[in-house]
């Protein structure tokens, strides 16, 4: 029974992969990604509408809210196809991070409305939770940003960093500490006394710093509070780590495939440089990193999609996969450049698009070392509990 179900799903995944890859290749050639760099907001809202038309903005959203209620494995096919083309649209930050956070905050009425609009492709929410310049001190159960309740209003004070998309978001789900513990608050982008400072990233997209200076919001903008808020943010964060790893894996595949082609066709000393055994071995080492990443990504997606996964297992898995994918992304980027020689350091050669995106994604939400620290914290606690 399960096997029929599994094979059906596998078939559907293959179909989705094929259609996503062909859509991305046609609608998002690499020169589109190149042209959008450093052009605020760094992506194309019309392209976003085309994603909505495909139904992809609602892929993870429940049917009640106009979505397709698909799993992370399905989402991963779309994410990977777009990452293969280095498409700059903030699919993971919006649809996975903000989308899942809203989903976990339901039954809030506001969350339901925002999710419906997001699924339709009309609203682009972003998550604003980090505060530390390196992210080392950020935790999903804490925030220095303060929330006060005043009669029928909410008052926000503090700053947020590393918010993606850094331009073009319609609003922010902001974490803050209030009377009821951690709170998640919806802050529309045009709210008074909110300052959004966009900062260019290596790949030509943007991250934002948000400054809240006595920002007043209606009480209805409180999406979740207390343990629910912590659970929602932690879960969405973990789901985003895995989905970002899917993107990094697609970049790794892209870079290794460009490098393979180059090794086959670049001739020096009368033969393709791919005949030099030292370079063959280097390429094989990259293949190994690619396949390690792919294996763990597959496991992580299955864990997210399994109905009975537990929160700490999910967190450990998410950090483990992001650690591998971030390091693989950077290693493959460095080596791909080296194996290309001088052309690899030029901006006009497409390898650079992958390299710059890999730099951004390896850093986002915590790089390899930071994820290993989190993994160690999570698993050490688990072992201590087992032994207790």
């Amino acid at each position: 029974m399960t096997t029929t179900h599994d094979s059906e799903r596998a078939e559907q995944l293959t179909l989705l992969r094929e259609s996503a890859l062909s859509f991305a290749a046609k609608a998002s050639p690499l020169h589109r990604a190149r042209a959008l760099r450093q052009q605020t907001p760094g992506f194309d809202r019309q392209f976003w509408a085309a994603l909505a038309e495909q139904g992809w903005t609602g892929l993870l959203v429940s049917e009640k809210m106009g979505g397709y209620e698909q799993g992370f494995a399905e989402m991963a096919e779309v994410v990977a196809a777009l990452a293969t083309q280095v498409a700059p649209e903030p699919v993971v930050p919006v649809l996975v991070f903000a989308g899942r956070l809203l989903a976990h905050a339901v039954p809030s009425d506001l969350a339901t409305r925002l999710l419906t609009e997001m699924a339709e492709g009309r609203t682009l929410p972003a998550v604003a939770w980090q505060e530390d310049i390196t992210g080392a001190k950020d935790r999903t159960d804490q925030a220095a940003t303060r929330l006060e309740r005043q009669a029928d209003a909410l008052l926000l004070n503090g700053s947020k960093r590393h918010v993606r998309p850094g331009a073009g978001a319609d609003g922010y789900i902001v974490s803050a500490t209030g009377p009821g513990g951690l709170a998640l608050v919806w802050v529309p982008a045009d709210t008074a006394d909110l300052t959004v400072t966009s900062q260019p990233l290596a790949d030509g997209s943007y991250a934002a710093q948000l400054d809240f200076n006595n920002v007043r919001l209606p009480a209805s903008h409180l999406l979740a509070e207390g343990p629910n808020a912590v659970a929602a943010l932690t879960r969405a964060y973990d789901e985003t780590l895995v989905s970002t790893s899917v993107e990094l894996l697609a970049l790794v595949r892209g870079m290794l495939s460009m490098t393979q082609d180059y090794l086959r066709t670049r001739v020096q000393f009368g033969k393709p440089i791919g005949t030099f055994q030292s370079l063959q071995h280097r390429a094989v080492d990259l293949l190994l990193q690619q396949e390690l990443t792919a294996s763990i990504v597959t496991q992580a997606l299955a864990l997210l999609d399994s109905p009975d996964s537990d929160a700490s297992a999910r967190s450990a898995m998410a950090s483990r996969v992001k650690s591998r994918a971030s390091d693989a992304g950077l290693q493959v980027a460095r080596e791909a450049v080296q194996l290309h020689g001088a052309i690899g350091v030029t901006d006009e050669y497409d390898l650079g698009l992958y390299l710059q995106r890999a730099l951004v994604l390896a850093a986002w939400l915590g790089n390899g070392s930071q994820q290993r620290r989190r993994y160690a914290d999570l698993t050490q606690n688990a072992t201590e509990q087992e032994h207790a």
Binding site: D132, P200, A202, Q268, F269, G270, S278, L359, L365, S369
Partner: protein, 389 residues
């Protein structure tokens, strides 16, 4: 005049300490502060004034004999001069004329060439770029195809050079060109000098991943170069180009770049309180020891140069360890920046700014130019380890 006074000084007669003090004082007093430790190649418009200042002082060509306007430094004094430059973070001006064309003409040029070109290099009137690499000839330089055909008193040159550092600022280019297509590949190459304003030469700057235009493509289309611009004999250019690889090779392996990067990592580590963190301390210290030991390896080769010995193929080890240590330092710097690791330019940390990505970008070409690290490993395997090919 200043220049005459300078050129008549016998620098080698000074003891090392006084020479060092003299050089240090001049750099500290006169080198423009804004260009210390630049993290990219500076353009002529930026660093040209410094070149001219050195020229005025008589210091622009430290290694050239005094009769040609150089300082005539012994290897030992030259090393001190370079150490002081590095110590103060003195930026490289476009110095191909000084480091390559001058020595080339002094050793292989004729009297007329020396008389015409050398004073103009000293004066900063001629700025040179190096036209060796081509789109299809990088590591395998001897396969180059840019062609020069004799036509009356001229060569007519056709072809394309690429990765030519700062060609957009150069007034002249030195070229390796093919003059005999039937000979074995190394034997049909000649060395030519050309004025960049000659009709048929087009330069296109190429942007790099750090966003700056450090190198260019140079297109040569029916470029007429007088036959008198050949250096050495026809078809003997390869030998001359090889001979140019003097002891300056050692400076590709200078620990300076790594020491500078290590200081940036240390600074960032302090600003972020990472020296409390044993994981960081271990990684930092491992690299600090790599940098120190690179210094020791470098010192061995420097001693050899000071003793007047020629360097062997083993000097390639320096370039490998220097550039790869630098690359690992860049990785650590990006790593400690965490969530800001994908942000180009300076990031404000408590206590100061850190720019991690520029170091990361700079580390990429360092393992490619000057003979890629793979090619250096081939040299070491064959010539030092004597492994069969």
């Amino acid at each position: 005049m200043n220049t005459t006074a300078a050129t008549t000084t016998d620098w080698n007669a000074l003891d090392n300490a006084s020479f060092r003090a003299t050089v240090r004082e001049f750099f500290e007093k006169h080198f423009p502060g804004e260009w210390r430790y630049p993290q990219r190649r500076l353009r002529w418009s930026e660093i040209g004034p410094w070149y001219l200042k050195l020229s005025e002082k008589g210091w622009v060509a430290p290694s050239w004999p005094t009769q040609y306007g150089g300082m005539g430094l012994s290897p030992e004094k030259l090393i001190i001069f370079i150490e002081e430059q590095e110590r103060w973070g003195v930026a490289r001006a476009p110095d191909m004329g000084i480091t390559m064309v001058g020595p080339l003409l002094i050793n292989h040029g004729n009297e007329a060439q020396r008389a015409y070109y050398l004073p103009k290099i000293i004066a900063g009137e001629h700025i040179w770029c190096q036209g060796y690499s081509e789109p299809n000839s990088g590591s395998d330089l001897a396969s180059l195809r840019t062609e020069a055909v004799v036509d009356g008193d001229d060569f007519i040159v056709n072809g394309q050079k690429t990765w030519t550092t700062l060609a957009q600022d150069a007034t002249h280019i030195f070229l390796l060109v093919r003059t005999d297509k039937s000979a074995k590949k190394q034997e049909g190459i000649s060395f030519l000098l050309a004025d960049m304003t000659t009709p048929g030469i087009t330069v296109r700057p190429i942007r790099n991943i750090a966003g700056s235009e450090d190198f260019c493509e140079v297109f040569l289309e029916n470029v007429r170069v007088p036959r008198t611009s050949i250096v050495g004999e026809l078809n003997k250019g390869w030998t001359i180009a090889k001979a140019l690889l003097g002891f300056e090779r050692i400076f590709l392996g200078s620990p300076k770049q790594s020491q500078y990067a290590l200081a940036r990592v240390r600074e960032a580590g302090q600003r972020l309180g990472l020296f409390e963190d044993t994981g960081f301390v271990d990684r930092y210290t491992k690299l600090a020891l790599d940098v120190a030991d690179l210094g020791a390896l470098y010192g061995r080769f420097i001693e050899q140069v000071k003793r007047g010995e020629t360097l062997g193929p083993d000097v390639s080890m320096l370039k490998l360890f220097a550039t790869e240590t630098y690359s690992r330092l860049a990785d650590l710097l990006v790593d400690v920046m965490g969530s800001s690791g994908g942000t180009p330019g300076s990031t404000a940390l408590p206590g100061g700014k850190t720019d991690a990505l520029t170091t990361f970008y700079n580390a990429r070409p360092a393992t490619i130019y000057g003979g890629s690290n793979e090619v250096q490993r081939n040299i070491l395997a064959a010539s030092v380890l004597k492994l069969p090919s």
